[in-house]
């Protein structure tokens, strides 16, 4: 044991499925990769509230409104679990906010698309949350303790998000022609961005091997994407709708669905900031942060005042 380097001891723990905890030694690159990945995930949850928040006031019934409100509140909670996990790695909450607001940090590019109709809320639940769950379930077993524990919490709550989305689409599928068209249109717009959520293909994903050695990642992007396509290609039949891919076809030899080529130019464009809603999303976040500044300051001032009063009362007694 005495001759092992810190790095070897660390990798040995990871190999044995022993979780790494905040005060344990870890390679700097592991720490930085986790900070980037967890904070990006947290930012995605927070930005992810915006497209759906757009429909809270216009949900078609009180029941749908209450459900959507609960879902958006969950997303706020997921962001907070993840920020607190990232903070255990030595970055502060304010540094992370700063990175988001300055545009330095990324978030999932899916949230830069607009929610044009009520059916979009259904499509987001089914496809976007479905893809997120596919990514997130393996993360419940990732090697960093606080992150894995946060993900267990997230996954427990995420399941209702996907089911409520599918139920919205199912209801629309049994509705009028206009409602069916609206649902199909939402699926057409959200399908490709959803399967892009798994990230670039394995050949274009240079960090995958290292992340898999560190057990921050358990499956490659393409493995998860294929699994998602296989599941959705079946589920869409229940809705009586179609996925917008003419090349989507069951392949007996591979035991999977074949699907068409992904337009990565669009993906890269949206990541670079040229998606339909990038500016709107960041502006909304910055505005919320700046408009809330006086509340944060007032709360601290109130705390100080009460502390001083209590100290004065104790001194007098």
């Amino acid at each position: 044991m005495a001759n092992l380097t810190n790095e070897e001891v660390f990798q040995d723990k990871v190999d044995q499925e022993i979780r790494i905890e905040p005060k344990d030694w870890m390679p700097e690159a592991y720490r930085q990769t986790l900070i980037r990945q967890i904070s990006q995930h947290a930012h995605s949850e927070i930005i992810g509230m915006l497209p759906e928040g757009n429909w809270i006031t216009r949900a078609p019934s009180l029941k749908r409104k209450a459900i959507l409100l609960a879902k958006v509140q969950d997303e706020a909670g997921h962001g907070l679990y993840l920020y607190s996990a990232a903070e255990t790695l030595g970055i502060t909450r304010d540094q992370m906010y700063e990175q988001l607001h300055s545009g330095q940090a990324k978030y999932s590019s899916i949230f830069n698309y607009p929610t044009l109709t009520w059916a979009d809320v259904g499509a987001i639940g089914w496809l976007v949350d479905g893809a997120a769950i596919m990514n997130q379930v393996p993360l419940c077993r990732n090697s960093y303790g606080p992150y894995a524990r946060a993900m267990v919490r997230v996954c427990k709550e995420e399941s209702f998000h996907q089911r409520q989305g599918f139920e919205i689409l199912l209801t629309l599928s049994r509705g009028t022609e206009a409602q069916r068209n609206m649902a199909q249109d939402a699926i057409n717009r959200w399908w490709w961005p959803s399967i892009m959520m798994f990230g670039p293909g394995d050949e274009a994903s240079p960090h995958t091997a290292q992340s898999m050695r560190w057990k921050i990642k358990r499956f490659t992007n393409d493995e998860l994407r294929q699994k998602f396509v296989d599941i959705c290609a079946e589920q869409v039949k229940i809705l009586g709708f179609t996925l917008p891919d003419e090349e989507l076809k069951w392949n007996d030899a591979s035991g999977h669905y074949d699907f068409g080529a992904i337009d990565w130019t669009e993906f890269n464009n949206v990541i670079r900031g040229n998606g339909p809603c990038n500016k709107q999303r960041l502006d909304a976040r910055r505005k919320a942060w700046n408009d809330g500044a006086w509340v944060r300051e007032a709360a601290m001032a109130h705390t100080e005042k009460r502390k001083n009063r209590m100290a004065a009362a104790e001194a007098a007694a």
Binding site: K23, Q73, L80, D94, E157, N290, T303
Partner: protein, 99 residues
């Protein structure tokens, strides 16, 4: 952009939740709040949206003292060679029952 000094930020609190009467409070995560009252209300919203708790403890993170994992060897050494503290250490005849 309006950025504040780190010193002015709301402090970090660790949250512990008792999931039902009779069980221990268990650490569930952390959050930021201006004071203990706000920390408990935020903990309710962040960590008990689905009836996960019947009681909440919050403590400012700066007040928690933790052992150092590098000291684990010497810290736990006194218990390491005392297998006789476990019932399985004692080899007793099979016909002995209720023990």
């Amino acid at each position: 952009m309006n950025t504040r000094d780190i010193e002015q930020s709301w402090p970090l609190w660790e949250v512990f939740i008792r999931s039902k009467q009779g069980l221990d409070h268990k650490h569930v995560g952390s959050l930021h709040a201006a004071d203990a009252h706000m920390a408990i209300e935020n903990a309710r919203d962040v960590y008990t949206r689905r009836m996960e708790g019947v009681s909440i403890w919050v403590v400012e993170s700066q007040h928690i003292h933790a052992s150092n994992p590098d000291d684990a060897g010497s810290l736990y050494d006194p218990a390491n060679d005392k297998v006789y503290r476990h019932p399985t250490f004692y080899n007793l005849p099979d016909e002995l029952t209720h023990m």
